[in-house]
Each structure stands twice: as C-alpha cells, then as structure tokens.
Symmetry: C3
Subunit: 319 residues, 3 copies
C-alpha cells in the first residue's frame, strides 16, 4: 500500500507541512489500517513513544496510545502534574524524554507553539496533538479523510463545508480550514461575531451571521464546541441563547443537501452545539466515523514516520 513512498516531513507540527502527496499516502495507508481494526502489526516493534499531554485529553491521548501499541510500539505517558509544576521548562521536559531515545513524542500543550519549538531540539519526531488555540493537525487529517470518503473524491472542489461555532478558541478550526483550502472546498463559517477572530478572512472563508443562510446547500456541516474552559462563555449572552441561534437542529440540518453529513470533533455538548437527537445516532451524523478514522490516520502517521523506506532521519543530533 506504500509503494515505496515516504512522507515529506519528520515532525508534524502544522497541517501546512502536509503536501498533496503526503495526504494521498496517509489516506491510502489509513484506509488499509481501518480495515484491519485493532490488529497488532509488528511494523514499529522496537520503537517507543511518549505521550506528553500537558493538557488533559481523553480521546486524542487514548487514540494515539492505542495506535502506537497496535503497531507494537512501547509507550509511556507524561502528564501535566509533575516536573513542569516543579518549575522545569517544557523544553527541558521534552529533551529529557528525547534522551530515552524514543522515536515519537506526541505533545498537547495549553500554549501555542510548544510542539514547534520542541521539534527543533529533539531527535525524536514531534507530533502536535493540539497546541493552545493554534493547530491540531491530526484532527484535520481525520476530518479530511471522513469528508473525502463521503464525497468519494480526491478533493472537495465544488463542495460546501460549513463550520459552525466557537471558531476563535478552536485549534481544530486552525488546522481544518488550511486543509480545506488545499482540498479546494468552499468554506463558510457561522457564529456570533464575538466568536470570530478578527483576521479570519485571510483563510478565504465567508462569515454568515445567520446560520440558516450558511447551511443552505451545504455538503458538510461541521459543528464546534463552545469552549467554556477557554473562557468562551464570556463572548456569548448565554449557552441557551447560543443554542437557539446556532445549535444544529433537525430543522437546520435539513437546509443542507439531502445527503449532507454532520461532523463534530468532540466532545459534543448535547443540546448546545448539536441537538441530542442528531448527535451520535442520526443517519447523517458521521461523528463516530471521525473517531474511527482518527485511529486509522494516527496509525498511518506513526508507521510512516517511524519506519521510513528511504532511511532518512531528522538532522538534529543530541550532543
């Protein structure tokens, strides 16, 4: 399934690093892994991974952890509790982990830019599992796979993707919108103006104050969570008001194309972002497929990063 191909990058810090060729390779491999479900491959045996989640995570950390283990990697977890609290810098923590000679370090951080800096000082490959409000590239990759499979196409040309919700505090948006432009989708965004970053037009998206207008004729409806833990509540009158104006209901979803799909990066706040009747069970909801694709994409990424055919390595050498 690889046909001698390698990725163009050693660390995945931003979705901008992913070329169309990388995308093709990742998705070819991910689709095969998806068929094999939790089958234990020996591809990465003898390599180790540390999951460094400096911000709590349920789905992303367990997904990366199982993906690595199903490739026969040994993994360990490092969380926000210890060394950093004693006053150690992130960089020292990451370089310490790097000294275990692990092949991959998966990093989630409250602050933007931690994975990018880390990648410059480690032999291990750094994978960004979400940094601040900035990027979450593997989420974009799994979302792209979900959309392309639905559209049975190699790109999203002529397709309308509507992203609804708390765009300002969302790292998911930061990566997804870049990928969607590469895939040539028409991207519409809809949210209260207070949840829209100032410079959002630079991404070539169009803002709709009325969600109904945005949804009309959509191929993909992508809802985002109001990120209360990042203070989003201060930007909307009430959650109830938000839900009334922007929550995805049956009626609103019906404004989209008949075969449109509903997506959400999770965790879903039922009856706020998305009405309960739609969340996981509706025929049009692809939320659980996103999760399944996440496992497949992460497994593809870890295999391709650790087991290069061309034998090339990151140039950084620890002294």
């Amino acid at each position: 399934m690889r046909k001698g191909r390698d990725l163009s990058f050693f660390d995945l810090v931003s979705i901008d690093q992913v070329t169309p060729e990388d995308l093709g390779l990742l998705y070819d491999v991910a689709r095969r892994f998806r068929e094999y479900k939790t089958y234990k491959f020996s591809f990465n045996k003898g390599s180790s991974q540390v999951n460094a989640f400096f911000e709590p995570s349920t789905r992303t950390s367990s997904s990366f952890d199982l993906a690595a283990k199903q490739l026969s990697m040994d993994t360990a977890g490092v969380s926000s509790n210890s060394s950093v609290e004693k006053g150690e810098s992130y960089l020292d923590t990451v370089q310490t982990i790097d000294s275990y000679n692990v092949k991959t370090i998966v990093i989630r951080s409250k602050e933007s830019g931690v994975p990018a800096v880390a990648a410059r000082y480690t032999q291990a490959s750094i994978i960004n599992a979400g940094d601040g409000w900035h990027e979450h590239p593997t989420q974009a990759l799994l979302d792209g796979l979900t959309m392309l499979d639905h559209c049975k196409s190699k790109d999203m040309k002529g397709r309308v993707v509507v992203i609804v919700g708390d765009i300002m505090h969302s790292r998911v948006f930061g990566s997804l919108v870049r990928l969607l432009k590469t895939l040539k989708a028409e991207v519409r965004i809809s949210a209260p103006l207070t949840l829209i970053p100032e410079d959002v037009e630079k991404f070539g998206v169009k803002w709709y104050g009325k969600v109904e207008e945005a949804l009309t004729g959509a191929d993909v409806v992508y809802a985002l969570r109001v990120q209360s833990e990042r203070g989003a509540n201060g930007f909307i009158p009430t959650l109830r008001e938000y839900s009334k104006m922007f929550g995805i209901s049956r009626k609103r979803l019906d404004l989209a194309k008949k075969d449109a799909i509903l997506m959400h990066p999770g965790p879903v706040i039922r009856d706020i972002d998305v009405h309960s009747a739609l969340a996981a069970v509706d025929e049009q909801s692809y939320i659980l497929r996103q999760v399944e694709n996440g496992m497949a994409v992460r497994k593809a990424l870890l295999w391709l990063i650790v087991d290069r055919i061309d034998g090339k390595k990151k140039t950084f050498t620890r002294k």
Copy 2:
C-alpha cells in the same frame, strides 16, 4: 480447559446474568490461569481494551489492566478528568471509545446504571467494574471462587456467610448477595440499622444487631469498609464507636467456626473494619487470596468474552 464452552452473555453488567454453567466455566478457566500466574498468553492478541474508570480505583483498574495485557491485549486508560468534565455525556464518551473498535470496555462509574446503558449502544463488550452503590460483579465472582475453593465444594449449601459493615453504600454487597443466594449459602448481615437498606429482606438475608450472634458458627466472615467517601460517616456515631461494636477482632472471629475464613474486598481500614493483627497476616485471613483470585477471574472473563468458540457476536451494530 474450556471443552468447547462459551459464556451465555456478551456484556457483564450484573451478576444476575451469570448462570450456574457460566460460573462453572469461569471458575474452571480461572483456576488454570491462577496456576500460570503472570504468564503471557497470546489468546487475545490483536484485540484492544479501554479501561474507563470515571471514579478513581487502584486495585480493580490495575487488575483489569494487567489481566488484559497478560492475554496480549493492547490497553488504554480513560479517567474522570477530561471529556466528561467538558460536558460530554457518559454515553458519548463510551460510544467514542467503542469507535476505536476495541473488544472490551471496562467501566467504573459513580452513578448506578452507566454500564447497563452503555452495553445497549456499543459493539464492544461492556464489563461493569463497579457502578455507584449498585453492582460490582467481578468482585462477587472472585469472592465466590475464594469461598468455593475454601469449602472444596460446588456450592455453599449449608454454609453460613456473615457480611458485616456498611451494606447500604456497598456495591460489593449488591452483587455478592445475589451470587450467594444462587450458591445456596445462608447469608447473615450485621451492621448498625442505619447502614442497612430498607428493602434488604428481599435478598433473603437475616439482620443481626449484635455481631456476636451473627458470627456464631459462621464459615465465612466478610467485612465491608465504612465508605466515608459516600457519606457513611453520617450514619454512625463515630468510627471508633463503629469499630467497638462491629469491627472484626480476634475474639469475635473466634466465635465463627474453627476453620472459618476472613474476607474483605479492600481497601481495609485497619482497626475500624478489621483489627490490624488480622488484616493480611492471620492464617484465617483470605484477603490477599481474594486479590490473587481477582486477577485469575478477570483473565478468565476477558478471554471467554473476547475469544468465543461459537463465533457469536453482540447484535448491536454501529451505523
């Protein structure tokens, strides 16, 4: 050791699901696993498990985790910290985990009923590792094995089991008493009336206000912890008073049969539930054997659930 046998259930939510045939199969297999200690079997290789402990746990979670790993499963842990706190429903969390295509999800929850609901919406087999004050079926299974091995019998007919302590807040009691009735034991309970649920007679047990009377002639003395974290302290004058009236001392244990055994699901609060001199070291204490049997029973359960000979599957299909 299986002789072509399969369990009658796909999820273990309540001890009521366990038929006498299931019990025979589980114990035959568990006794063999016990001999092999931590030997690494490849029986469940290629299957994965998520341990979803929404309430903290030491012994149960590490026991399930090692049991799965010793069967060559890949495991990941999900705890109470993240998605649920962001406002996700338990059901969405569990369905997300199910979308990893894991074979087993082990759930502990503060609320009763979470595993039962989860089992209706997942392809994975759900194993209840304790839900609220309700049930803790694998604890009952390991307790049953410990008692039967001690009695060298297939049931507990004519045997007296005395359960002493905080019955009201105990999920251990909820499962154990059901199993003991199936095994035909005579069950006596002893505790301050304030720690006895109103409808306890429905289980066919007899309450003793004086622990000495209950203990006289007992085959098994089963002490329960006063569950301060569930507010039990409000139901007794003081822990000291409780200990004086109901704590298991040398003198009290001697009222039971000469070869009676002392059991406790742990963690033991020394000198409250059980006097220090008895806890782990006394010849009659089987507390550590319970732990050893717990590992064996859980390994048996995981093997039998994941690796069915008849090839049958849960009927739920994720769309």
Copy 3:
C-alpha cells in the same frame, strides 16, 4: 555480557546494598543495553511490574515503565489517588499488588522507609524509586555510570565531585554520597548552611560556604534543585539570592577543571540551580546523558533482578 553473574540482592532499597561486584555487573549490562536503545528484548517476557508512585513523578516513572516494557514485561501503574486516600495503609496496598504475582514493584513515596518495610512483606522484588528525603538508589547508579564513563575509569579515586544545592531535602544526595565514597571520590558540598543537614560530616564530605572555593579543580559539578515543594524556600532568603550565591554560571563552571562535566538529577530550575545557557546545550552539560543512562541502568537492574541465572528467590512466602 553477564558471564553467569547475578546480583547480591533481591530488592533494591538502599545504595548500601550494592557491592562493587554488583556495580560492575550492572554497568557492564547497562552499557550494552544503552547501545541497543529502545530495542525490544524478550528477556523478561511473562513477568509483570507495577509502578507504585505515591508521589508524582515524570521522568523516573516513565523511565522505569519504558525500561520494563522494552524487556517485554507487562506493567500497570498505581498512583497516589485512590486506596491510600480511602484510608488503606501503604503496606496493605503493596501486599495487594504483590498478590498479583508481579515480579517487581517500583515504589516512590513521600515518606522515608516505605520501600524498606514493603520489601519485608512481599514476594515481588521492591525497587526504591525515591523515598522521602532518604534515598534514590537508581539515580545514584545512573550518576555513577555517567561519571565513570566520563573518567574512563573503574573508580573515582583522585577525582573531585562537588555537590551544590539543597542537600538537606535531597534523597538524591543520600544515595549519591554513599556511592561516591565507595568509588573513592573526594566529595565537596556547597550550599547555604541552612540547607546542610547537621550530621553531614559522617559521610566524609567537606562543606564550603563559598561555592567558588568548592568548584576549584573539580572533575564533576553536580547541582541539586532547591526543593520548594519540600519547604526549602523557608531556608534561604530568596531564590534570587540563592542563585546569585550558588547558581552554576559559566564563570563558576570555568573554575572547575577544563574537561569537568556538569550534572543535575532534574528537573532543572533554569537560572536558579543552573544558568540557562548551560542547562542542556553546553558541551560540558551531561544532564541529558544522565537521562539516557538512567534508562540503561534501570533496564539492567530489571533484567538482573527478574531473570536470575542461579534461580534463587526472595525467602518471603505469602501465606
């Protein structure tokens, strides 16, 4: 690489147990493991380990966890959150873990002496990963390896090691100073008198109030962190003042021998213990090599403890 050799001990509670022969064996094996990096050996397959970190830890716990996994052990973690908080004694927790029939239990505890007591009541081998202010023997072992490799020697005879910093609250010091005496090093210590324990002379070390005097002619400069979480701040005027008087700067490091190395057990508090420019990147800094050696030494220890050639076992038998 073992040449039929075994260790003289079954539990590693104190560095005092490590004979010169043990040290030679451990380092021979560790140096080989170091070459193989994260290679997955099957040496300890079928054995399990529990990492019982009752005090939070980043580097030590992940290092022990990966070391065990790279030897094909199954591992589980137990932390400070659950049973102990419900009122269980440490000893009961450890005996519970022992009843899983694991081969090794790695313990870190806030209180001194927990691993030593545990070792007397378990079949499993107990490894002390740091107890209170007392000992941290594997840290001393990895430090010894780092120093000997630098000196290309079998001992530290005629070499000067200067330990600077919060000696009073340091379990690292407790183990390291004992090992350094065995290795025949000249040990100097430097810190404010308030951070020096009363009876420190018993270790045969000399205290210097002026760090510059201590550093002159040193072969190894070993900085310790001011352990604020153990109340060290109360013993110094301010961290800034401490840094000014005792922090390791370029200028101070240059007082040592030209090829002297800078070591630190981590986590480093930059610009307090050690100036930023030196911490990880300076040619003389061996801090990351310490981490790499830690993995190798722990792997050597776990292999030698679990897989004995002479077939001997701990004498304790669980009833």
